[in-house]
Amino acid sequence: MSGQPGEHADPAVAFESAKLGVWTFLATEVLLFGALFTAYTVFRMKYPELFRAEHAKLDRVLGAVNTVVLITSSLMVVFGVDAIKRGKARLFEACFGATILLAAVFLCIKYVEYAAKFHHGIYPRTNLFFSIYFMLTGLHGIHVLLGMGLLSYGILLSRRGRLSASYYTPAEMSGLYWHFVDLVWIYLFPLLYLIG
C-alpha cells in the first residue's frame, strides 16, 4: 500500500503490484478465518443438537440489519473509488466517510448483541457454539476496526491533496480490503444466525 507516485518508473506496474500484494494478504486472511470455519464445521457435525439449540439464541433480525449495513458500506466504497478516479476528492471523502459511519453503526449493533448475550449470562466459555461465535465475530469486528483505520487514512491522504484521478492506489486498496471484510460477514451471518 506504500506505492507512492514516482516510486516505480511505471505507475501502472506500481498499481498492479500493489493490487497483487493486497490479494496475497487477503489469501492469508481467508486461511485465518478458514481455520475457524473448519473448527465450526467439525463441531457442528459432532454436536448438531447443541448448534441447533444455541444458534436460536442469536437475534437474526439484528444480524440481517448488520448485513444490510455492511453491503451498503461496500456500495459507498464503490462510489468513493469511482469519485476519486474522476478526480472528485470531496465526493470521495464523503463516500469513504459514509463507509466509516456505517462501519461504526455495525460495531454499535454488534455491541448491543454482545451486551444482550452477557446480560443473559452467555460468554465465550459458555459452550462450544458461543466460543466459536465470539471468536469469529470478534475477529471480524477487529477487521472492521482495522478497515475503519485504513479508510480514514485514505481520507487523510485525500485531505492533504495526495490522491487524484492519476493516483488513487491507497483508495482502491483500502476499498479492496473493505469489500473482503464485507465478504467474510456474508458467510458469518448465515452460518451463525440462520442455520443451526
Binding site: P11, A12, F15, E16, K19, L20, W23, T24, L26, A27, T28, V30, L31, G34, A35, F37, T38, T41, V42, M45, K46, R60, A64, T67, V68, I71, T72, S74, L75, V77, V78, F79, V81, D82, A83, I84, K85, R86, A165, S166, Y168, L176, H179, F180, D182, L183, I186, Y187, F189, P190, L191, Y193, L194, I195
Partner: protein, 92 residues
C-alpha cells in the same frame, strides 16, 4: 488506469440490489424448515453473494489470470484443510 465511469456506478447499484434481494431471501428461507436443505440453500446464497462482491466490487471480473490465481488458491487450500480435518475427525 483511470477509467471511472457512470457505467461502474450502475453496475455497483445493480450488484447492491442483488445483494439486498439475496439477503432477504436467505433470511426468509431460514424460517422454513427444510432439514439439511437449509444449510445447502444458505451456503449457496452466501456463495452467490460472495461471488458478486468479488467479481464486481473487487473487480475480479476484469482481472488478469495472475490475480485470479491469487484469489483462488486460498480457496483450494481451505477446501484441502476442511477435507483433511473432516476425514480425520469424522472417520476416527
Amino acid at each position: 488506469m483511470a477509467h471511472g465511469t457512470g457505467n461502474s456506478l450502475r453496475t455497483g447499484i445493480a450488484v447492491f440490489a442483488a445483494l439486498l434481494l439475496l439477503t432477504v431471501i436467505t433470511v426468509l428461507v431460514s424460517y422454513v424448515d427444510l432439514g439439511a436443505g437449509n444449510v445447502v440453500v444458505a451456503l449457496l446464497i452466501a456463495s452467490a453473494k460472495a461471488s458478486l462482491v468479488a467479481l464486481f466490487f473487487m473487480h475480479l471480473k476484469g482481472e488478469s489470470r495472475l490475480v485470479w490465481g491469487f484469489a483462488l488458491f486460498p480457496i483450494v487450500f481451505l477446501a484441502l484443510i476442511l477435507l483433511g480435518t473432516l476425514t480425520d475427525t469424522m472417520l476416527r
